[in-house]
């Protein structure tokens, strides 16, 4: 259990206590204080003290002084611990957000592709087509017809849980037990469960209504549960969690409520690991399961309203949030909050085609899977005309076009060709001959039929806002550049919304909090985060909230207590440790996770860092000051971290005030690299871009087999490196590809590739390798722990 945060009790009874004593000492205070400064020798000043003061309250003046010293020292120690805790937290947070910004870089990369790349062969064209073509999502009617789970046989030797419908409470509890025993649910049952879940969800409104009040006949209502989104993408058991949630929802349909989170989204899942998890657990039927899940996610309700007074949703709100609109829209149309094909956009697209502008056609086209960046000035995707928002909201209207090469009229194709031609000429590429079939990058033409399937711009934005926004302390509402979606909303936005709809509280999740919960906006907004040990073991508590009779929130906190598990047997035997000591070890451990991740990031930017260091090394001495080190690091990484505070733990090789930066970088590299045969600079680049690369690979790997061909790898890497302006020869790429193809079968296992560039798993050496996923991302980039053991300690916090 982490010690409670150190608080200076000010002003308090202690203050009074001191005041009560002080007057007696006034006459000698000067000499006392000066002795304290000049000499810290207890004996000396005690002597001085004794000679100057009359008898005092308390029998032992020396005891008094000694106590002060001890207390003073102890308080300093606690303050340092608190500071370390805060710094560790900052590291994790800033890195998580930096990871989200990676999405944006990916976006830029593909825009660059569209702008500048000309496929020069059929295979390249096909390859690119695969990148830019979305798999069709089965329409509703198709899905209903497919009760294809029935055709799946469950083998006799299957030892996992069986499900039959309609589900009974016993089935649900048996399911939980089975998962606890690490069994896996058979694909047939998974699909069956998803089928039934979908049937149930379809009947629900966008905003579920829950009532806590008594009904006339029954004295007490059943307890209702609301789960506020983000059920997947973190940890290795997302499938199981979903199954449990859906099962209980089917068993207790009136009491169990699920809200959609931003991770209930197949695009996000591609990046954050859920897709991988499903494919690994369900090799044969994984794809089907993913398809069904995509559908089920779209049918999850968007919010829950309790007694018409408390609004529960995943992210937050914006100054444009319109609950009526949200209730009315067809939520199923919002397939992914990352990307949306919208009606208005296509109309405008048709207009622009006609005008055949000089600007690159890429300005209005973009691959279907890219995240929406709302207000990044660097984003090339800037529409010329869009709705203007209130001042203070600096977002540009995002847009996207679904790309489908089928069904495009010849005329439209021709005009696109002309555009591409112009671009090629601008970029200095050789003109493609007319005879060859041009590679086109086509917007969908049959808008008429498509309209009914698509949400409007406004509808889509409303949903993005409630799933992605975060509260901020400042007034106003501005685009959430960190996440790339939704906005930051201030206290005035909250106030206005609550007033408008006569609400008293907004409960949301979406952000990890050290205590598992946090109030803000004058207690009008409550953030609840239920995954304890989210960043690393011991990093934070989890919490849930109970709404009492007057809808007052009661918070219950917990932390999966791994103290005894963390320590080795020997440690446990040799020193019986106090809770505090264990907590201290935890802080050190969590801190070590954070620092390891940070070192990895530093390594990934070695060349940039070297450049910055050289700039600050005027005499070419090979040395820079520690202050310069801090400034250089911040200018490269942009993490906004307290580098001077962290410096002692990141740099142990400085002498005096100076650092030999080259050897420091070398030491970093030695720590990180495990494969000497891959050139370190290439590796560094690969590592830095690994999460984007992984996403690209997974998109290319459209059958989710986990493999891509050497050719595909080479092509991807070639494109990527030209965008990043890296100087890598074809030979270099070939060598790299071959060295990664460990079994020499012409295919690269994506996971093997990531293995080759990930950080060396250091001493999570007490064998708990899985506890430090930030350092070892074997299962996909960005996947955090959390491994929840049985909850041990639960504390009640009345609010």
């Amino acid at each position: 259990m982490l010690p409670p945060r150190q608080r200076l009790h000010y002003p308090t009874f202690q203050g009074c206590c001191i005041l009560a004593i002080t007057p007696v000492f006034i006459s000698s205070s000067e000499s006392w204080q000066s002795s304290l400064f000049i000499s810290t020798h207890v004996n000396i000043f005690i002597k001085k003290w004794e000679s100057n003061t009359p008898p005092v309250i308390g029998a032992e003046p020396r005891a008094f002084k000694a106590a002060v010293l001890i207390q003073r020292w102890y308080r300093r120690y606690m303050a340092r611990l608190e500071m370390r805790r805060q710094c560790t937290w900052s590291i994790f947070q800033s890195m998580e957000y930096a990871g989200q910004q990676d999405q944006v870089k990916l976006h830029d990369f593909f825009s660059y592709l569209v702008d500048h790349f000309t496929p020069s062969s059929h295979s390249e064209r096909d390859f690119l087509n695969r990148m830019f073509t979305e798999e069709r999502v089965p329409r509703d009617s198709e899905v209903e017809k497919c009760s294809d789970y029935e055709s799946i046989e469950v083998p006799d030797n299957y030892t996992g849980p069986h499900l039959s419908f309609p589900l009974l409470p016993d089935h649900a509890t048996a399911l939980v037990e089975a998962f606890r025993l690490k069994q896996q649910l058979h694909a047939r049952y998974v699909l069956n469960l998803l089928h039934e879940t979908r049937k149930h969800l379809v009947q629900l409104p966008n905003i579920s209504r829950v009532s806590t009040c008594y009904s006339e006949e029954i004295t007490v209502c059943e307890r209702a549960y609301v789960f506020n989104g983000d059920f997947v993408d973190r940890g290795k058991d997302s499938v199981e969690i979903l199954m449990v949630l859906f099962a209980f929802m089917l068993v207790y349909p009136k009491e169990f409520h699920l809200n959609r989170g931003n991770h209930e989204d197949h695009m996000v899942n591609l990046r954050y690991g859920f897709t991988t998890e499903v494919m690994q657990k369900y090799k044969t039927h994984g794809k089907k399961i993913l398809q069904r899940l995509q559908d089920v996610f779209c049918w999850l309700p968007l919010a829950t309203l309790v007694d018409e007074k408390v609004l529960i949703l995943h992210g937050g709100v914006s100054d444009m949030t319109d609950l009526e609109l949200l209730s009315k829209l067809d939520r199923h149309k919002i397939v992914s909050t990352l990307r949306c094909k919208t009606r208005k956009e296509k109309e405008k697209q048709a207009e622009e085609k006609g005008k055949a502008k000089q600007t690159s056609s890429a300005g209005s086209l973009s691959p279907w899977f890219l995240p929406q960046s709302r207000s990044l000035p660097s984003s090339p995707l800037h529409l010329s005309s869009h709705k203007t928002h209130k001042t203070g909201r600096s977002s540009s209207v995002p847009s996207s076009i679904l790309l489908d090469p089928r069904g495009l009229s010849r005329q439209a194709r021709r005009s696109v060709d002309l555009e591409l031609e112009r671009c090629r000429q601008q970029a200095g590429f050789p003109v493609i001959k007319e005879k060859e079939e041009p590679w086109v990058f086509n917007p969908e033409a049959d808008s008429a039929a498509g309209d009914l399937l698509e949400p409007s711009q406004e509808e889509w934005r409303q949903v993005v806002d409630i799933l992605w926004s975060d509260p901020m302390a400042q007034e106003g509402c501005k685009a959430n550049t960190v996440r790339g979606g939704g906005c930051y909303f201030g206290p005035n936005v909250t106030k206005r919304l609550l007033q408008k709809y006569d609400l008293q509280l907004l409960i949301r999740s979406h952000e990890c909090k050290p205590e598992g919960y946090e109030f803000c906006h004058s207690r009008k907004v409550l953030t609840i985060f239920s995954a304890s040990n989210y960043y690393a073991v011991g990093s934070n508590r989890g919490a849930y909230v109970k709404l009492g009779p007057a809808l007052t929130p009661h918070i219950v906190q917990y932390q999966a207590n791994k103290a005894t598990h963390m320590l080795t047997m020997r440690q446990r035997q040799d020193f019986p440790m106090s809770d505090f000591r264990k907590a201290e070890l935890w802080i050190s451990r969590v801190e070590e996770s954070a620092l390891r991740a940070l070192r990895g990031k530093l390594f990934a930017h070695s060349s940039d860092l070297l450049e910055e260091f050289k700039k600050r090394d005027n005499g070419n001495t090979g040395l820079i000051t520690l202050s310069d080190w801090a400034a250089a690091v911040e200018s490269v990484l942009h993490l906004g971290l307290p580098w001077r505070m962290l410096r002692p733990q990141l740099v142990n090789s400085s002498t005096g005030n100076m650092l030999e930066y080259k050897s420091w970088l070398e030491d970093l590299a030695k720590e990180q690299l495990s494969h000497e045969n891959i050139q370190s600079s290439l590796l560094e680049t690969l590592y830095r871009n690994r999460s984007n690369l992984e996403t690209i690979f997974r998109i290319i790997d459209s059958d989710h087999s986990g493999f891509i061909s050497l050719d595909e790898f080479r092509q991807t890497w070639k494109l990527f490196s030209s965008h990043m302006k890296m100087d890598i020869t074809d030979d270099g790429i070939c060598d790299l590809a071959r060295s990664i193809d460990f079994n020499k079968d012409g295919h690269i296992d994506i996971n093997e590739f990531l293995e080759a560039v990930r950080l060396v798993e250091q001493s999570c050496s007490e064998g708990n390798a899985s506890d430090c996923p930030q350092a070892s991302n074997a299962k996909g980039s960005g996947s955090w722990p959390p491994t929840e053991d049985s909850l041990v300690s639960v504390t009640q916090v009345a609010s």
Binding site: P3, P4, Q6, R7, L8, Y10, T12, Q14, C17, I18, T22, T40, H41, V42, N43, I46, G58, E60, R62, A63, F64, K65, A66, A67, V68, L69, I70, Q71, R72, W73, Y74, R75, R76, Y77, M78, A79, R80, E82, M83, Q86, A473, Q474, F575, P576, M577, S578, D579, F580, R581, T625, S627, A630, P642, W643, R644, M645, P648, G656, N657, M658
Partner: protein, 213 residues
């Protein structure tokens, strides 16, 4: 202290190995001479020499560095990103910058950096100059281990080598600048094993030593 590493008689006998390496040593000497000069500004009869321009420049650099450190520590607790921190975090910030004031001194410091009408928040603009002085003057230095040991020994006059739980509680909550109940519990949980009733203070000190940088 002169740049050619010689010292003038009235500036104390400090030397530095290299200009940048000895930054903090210079700082200390400079500051002493500067303070002498500043303090005696009204007394021209005092013979302190003002520091040279280059010395002052180095001093400036050093101070700038200190200020960056202060800013970093402050920003860790500036949760609302508006250059203010909760007054209750000031103690943590000051202590993590290497200082070890007692509660009374902290109380005074807070009074110095607070607004006239206390708002519960401390602004960076008020905090920075005060903290800079503290660091430059090296006030509130931490207690060396030996002194701490002696302090415990004062409380253990028969030199048993330990204190009982009751004794520790009594001293920490009734003497000096008493602990709150929370602090007392924390300290106990750090000091003693779950079964024990005695605090072997030597071990305790060793366990809780802060690595000074």
């Amino acid at each position: 202290m002169n740049l050619d590493n010689t010292t003038s008689p009235n500036q104390g006998g400090c030397t530095a190995k290299g200009m940048l390496q000895g930054q903090f040593v210079i700082c200390e000497c400079l500051f002493q001479s500067w303070r002498q000069h500043g303090r005696t500004a009204g007394h021209p009869s005092k013979s302190a020499l003002p520091p040279s321009i280059s010395q002052l420049l180095i001093f400036e650099l050093v101070v700038a560095d200190l200020q960056r450190k202060i800013r970093e520590a402050f920003e860790v607790f500036d949760h609302e990103l508006n250059n203010t921190v909760d007054v209750r975090e000031i103690g943590t910030i000051i202590r993590s910058l290497g200082c070890c004031p007692n509660e009374g001194e902290l109380h005074d410091l807070i009074a110095e950096v607070e607004e006239e009408e206390p708002t519960g928040y401390i602004r960076f603009e008020k905090f920075l100059p005060v903290m800079t002085n503290i660091l430059v003057e090296k006030r509130y230095r931490p207690i060396p281990e030996e002194i701490l040991l002696q302090a415990f020994e004062v409380l253990d006059p028969t030199k048993r080598g330990f204190l009982s739980k009751e004794e520790l509680i009594k001293y920490m909550t009734e003497e000096g600048e008493p602990f709150s109940q929370e602090e007392m519990e924390e300290m106990l949980s750090a000091a003693i094993g779950p079964e024990s009733n005695f605090i072997h203070y030597r071990d305790y000190i060793t366990m809780m030593v802060i690595d000074e940088n």
